[in-house]
């Protein structure tokens, strides 16, 4: 492997120095890191807000905040987590960093557009912050901005939906960049069935970003038109349809769930074979299941609306379609487990976090079937069961995949290795805290406790207290994980180019990568997960302590 200065030492465009070399960069890797710091900031903020919310609910009546503050805070928690962490998290950080490398190329197709997307992301975040302090403060609508409340409320809905509109634009442009790079920049020797599964998952996601995001953008514009002009699109008195808003909102926001989870599934598909020292089971099935999830997942939006007064025909059709999504999701889970079967398992923090993902995501998926079935949905609709379910998918799924990706690619991104013991302790504490935090919510929901309520009946106090306690454990685990990673930057232990024994192209180049990614023309393997050379040579296993 030829030595070359890393992208940290070699700016793009050349000649830029200091902060300018970051703020004006065209390098996908630098942009990936810039997204990382911004997204982590939002994640920590929203996590803190979530902890305050659960602290408020730990005992009946007022605990630490007023009902109005509680309403604004759960909206803020939802808006930040959804639009500023979960949706952009894996694609914007790891997608930007690794998609061009896994495709054997030097950058994305539109580097300047990539930089522009980052600025849009920052501008959207800025608008969200500003809306806290202007007018009547942050919206109290929840992240769904349902009409007619969002049209009539005095709170600062207009600025917040503008923020979400801008963030949607950023997401769409990133998707456009990825699809174009996939088709136009891929190494000429790389056929479709030689592409790593993480990149495939980003490709499927990018299509959903391109096709679904305009719908929410238009919907946000309609909210503004309603607020300022009162055109009556959603008002029956003026010939409008009150359910139209919910259709339009979920047309994006349900596919958005797959924007959130598909890249996470891609991460797991990378981690599992590497630490099983075994070729991924059912490569083509995973590729097709990614595309199937992207397509089928875009056709199920109205399962959020069973109790809204929608037609029975729609309830039946959307319930049926919802169950279809379980098939490609299960294909992936079975493929991951089958990959580990008879593999030479080498335990590591990324693998442990991936195993947590499989378990927690499976619970999220199965509780989703309870909600997807129209009969049971009626009973648990808008209860804490829903809160528990979507956190199992969004956090247990995407969140743990995000942590796994951080631990898997950290040595490649920064060229340093972290300590394993704190990473294991942090991962276990996070997973245990997670279960303590969200399982009580599932039970509370089945018992009938509604979501988004500031106060509750005495019989729900034990469950809420346990959930709050679990929340503190969860955050303690995450603090250990993140501190451990950041300490590795301060006291660096250099990581080799391929610390895990990976087979995809990013492991063939130095850590951290050179500015142009490949100093020599990459040799594209016939199959991206061929571990025979490692098994024969006995290489592999973590290099951590």
């Amino acid at each position: 492997m030829t030595a070359a200065p890393s992208f940290f030492e070699n700016p793009s465009p050349p000649g830029l120095t200091g902060i300018k070399s970051w703020l004006l960069t065209h390098d996908h890797k630098r942009l990936g890191l810039m997204y990382m710091w911004a997204i982590l900031f939002w994640f920590v903020l929203a996590m803190f807000l979530g902890l305050l919310l659960r602290t408020e609910l730990m005992s009946q009546g007022r605990t630490i905040m007023s009902a109005e503050a509680y309403n604004s805070m759960f909206t803020l928690h939802g808006v930040i987590m959804v639009f500023l962490f979960v949706i952009p998290g894996i694609p914007a950080i790891f997608g930007n960093f690794f998609l061009p490398i896994q495709l054997g190329t030097d950058d994305v197709f539109f580097p300047r557009l990539n930089l522009f997307s980052w600025y849009l992301f920052m501008l959207g975040g800025l608008f969200a912050v500003v809306s806290l302090f202007l007018g009547e403060g942050f919206p109290d609508t929840g992240w769904t901005f349902y009409v007619p409340f969002s049209v009539g409320t005095e709170s600062n809905v207009s600025l917040t939906v503008t923020a979400a509109f801008i963030l949607g634009m950023s997401s769409m442009l990133t998707g456009l960049n990825f699809v174009t790079t996939f088709h136009r920049m891929r190494h000429p020797d790389m056929g479709l069935m030689q592409i790593p599964l993480f990149t495939w998952s980003l490709y499927a996601t990018a299509w959903v970003q391109i096709l679904a995001t305009p719908v929410i953008s238009i919907t946000f514009v309609l909210i503004m038109l309603e607020r300022f002009l009162g055109i009556g699109l959603f008002e029956p008195d003026k010939g409008g349809d009150p359910l139209l808003y919910q259709h339009l909102f979920w047309m994006y926001s349900h596919p958005a769930v797959y924007i959130m989870i598909l890249p996470g599934m891609g991460v797991i598909s990378e981690v599992i074979p590497v630490f099983s020292r075994k070729s991924i089971f059912g490569y083509k099935a995973i590729v097709w299941s990614s595309m199937a999830i992207a397509i089928a997942g875009s056709l199920v939006w109205a399962h959020h609306m069973y109790t809204s007064g929608m037609s029975d025909v729609s309830v039946f059709v959307f319930s049926l379609l919802t169950f279809l999504v379980a098939i490609p999701s299960a294909v992936k889970v079975f493929s991951w487990v089958s990959t580990m079967y008879k593999g030479a398992i080498a335990m590591s923090p990324p693998l442990l976090l991936s195993l947590c993902f499989i378990y927690l995501f499976s619970v999220g998926g199965l509780t989703g079937l309870v909600l997807g079935a129209a009969g049971t949905n009626i009973h648990v609709h808008d209860t804490h069961f829903v809160v528990g379910h979507f956190h199992f998918v969004m956090f247990g799924g995407t969140g743990f995949a995000f942590f796994a990706a951080l631990h898997f690619w950290w040595p490649k991104m920064f060229g340093v290795m972290y300590r394993f013991r704190p990473a294991y302790i942090g991962a276990v504490l996070t997973a245990v805290g997670f279960v303590f935090h969200y399982v009580p919510m599932l039970i509370l929901g089945l018992q009938g406790m509604p979501r988004r309520y500031y106060d509750y009946l005495p019989q729900y106090e034990t469950g809420n207290f346990l959930a709050g306690f679990g929340g503190y454990l969860l955050i303690a685990g995450m603090v250990i994980m993140f501190v451990n990673l950041f300490v590795s930057l301060r006291n660096p232990r250099m990581a080799p180019a391929d610390p895990w024994g990976g087979t995809t192209l990013e492991w063939t180049i130095p850590s951290p990568p050179p500015m142009e990614n490949f100093v020599e023309t990459p040799v594209i393997p016939d199959f991206p997960y061929d571990f025979r050379k490692f098994m024969a040579g006995g290489k592999g296993g973590g290099k951590g302590r």
Partner: protein, 95 residues
Amino acid sequence: MASHEQRHVASYGQLALILLFLLLLTGATVGISYIHLGFFNVPAALSIATLKATLVLLFFMHLRYEGRIIRYSFLGTALVLAIMIGFTFWDVAFR
């Protein structure tokens, strides 16, 4: 690159003809709104609008001259839009 660009740019005459056709279709949209067609009011207006959009895409936006990936990508996008509208009508039509 220049020759590639030149190859698929339509002549001014062709473009003017398409513009004229688009204006005629706009007139047709206005005209048909004065005729009571009952259930077919919306399908008629949507059909004319679809025809106009198709002409714009094919000639002004050069879809006619593009390769397979771009054409399939566009067709996929149109299909998604059709599904979104169609599935919503399952609710509206049977409510």
